[in-house]
Amino acid sequence: SQTIHQWPATLVQPVGSPLSLECTVEGTSNPNLYWYRQAAGRGLQLLFYSVGIGQISSEVPQNLSASRPQDRQFILSSKKLLLSDSGFYLCAWASGTSVYNEQFFGPGTRLTVL
């Protein structure tokens, strides 16, 4: 069966510090991968998606970046965090066989920027 992991589960970082969040998927190949942010009291905002190794699409301009160094690894990064980067970050995967496939979400990372 497929599983998706995210770490760390929680993170507290000072403003201006770097960030690296990792997401890995097991039990599937060539997944589409996604990063979402969920701010308090708001819905989910799609940040990045990837259909293959090294292929990253950005949904919104921001100081975050994403990379996909391996087929089942998706990394969210920042060189300098802002207060507004605080939130709950969710990674998701979907089968690449159909555009109508549901997405499966990881457990999330709670990021607090102080």
Partner: protein
């Protein structure tokens, strides 16, 4: 344009009573529709999905949803609420973005409270 509208930001019910969480969508094509549930500080879990087969879709934990094209609705129901159902629920639609990648549009969520 808003693709998914969850009509209630909060719903409160007593344990054992029916649950109704409302969702309307807008789409030029036949959509794929989903309901997800999120417990506090957890990821989203898929409850059920509609992909143009039967209009009444049964999901996990006793939930079901009915796709009504004439009303552009996909309301989530459960006959009898349980305390463990207290969570946030998201209605989601997949629309093609003009490329081969489907894009999920999330409603703003409905917070379900279940009273003992």
């Amino acid at each position: 344009a808003q693709s998914v509208t969850q009509l209630d930001s909060h719903v409160s019910v007593s344990e054992g009573t029916p649950v109704l969480l409302r969702c309307n969508y807008s789409s030029s094509y036949s959509p794929s529709l989903f309901w997800y549930v999120q417990h506090p500080n957890k990821g989203l879990q898929l409850l059920l999905k509609y992909t143009s087969a039967a209009t009444l879709v049964k999901g996990i934990n006793g939930f079901e949803a009915e796709f009504k094209k004439s009303e552009t609705s996909f309301h989530l129901t459960k006959p009898s609420a349980h305390m463990s159902d207290a969570a946030e629920y998201f209605c989601v639609v997949i629309l093609l973005r003009g490329s081969t990648l489907g894009r999920l549009y999330f409603g703003r969520g409905t917070q379900l409270t279940v009273w003992p």
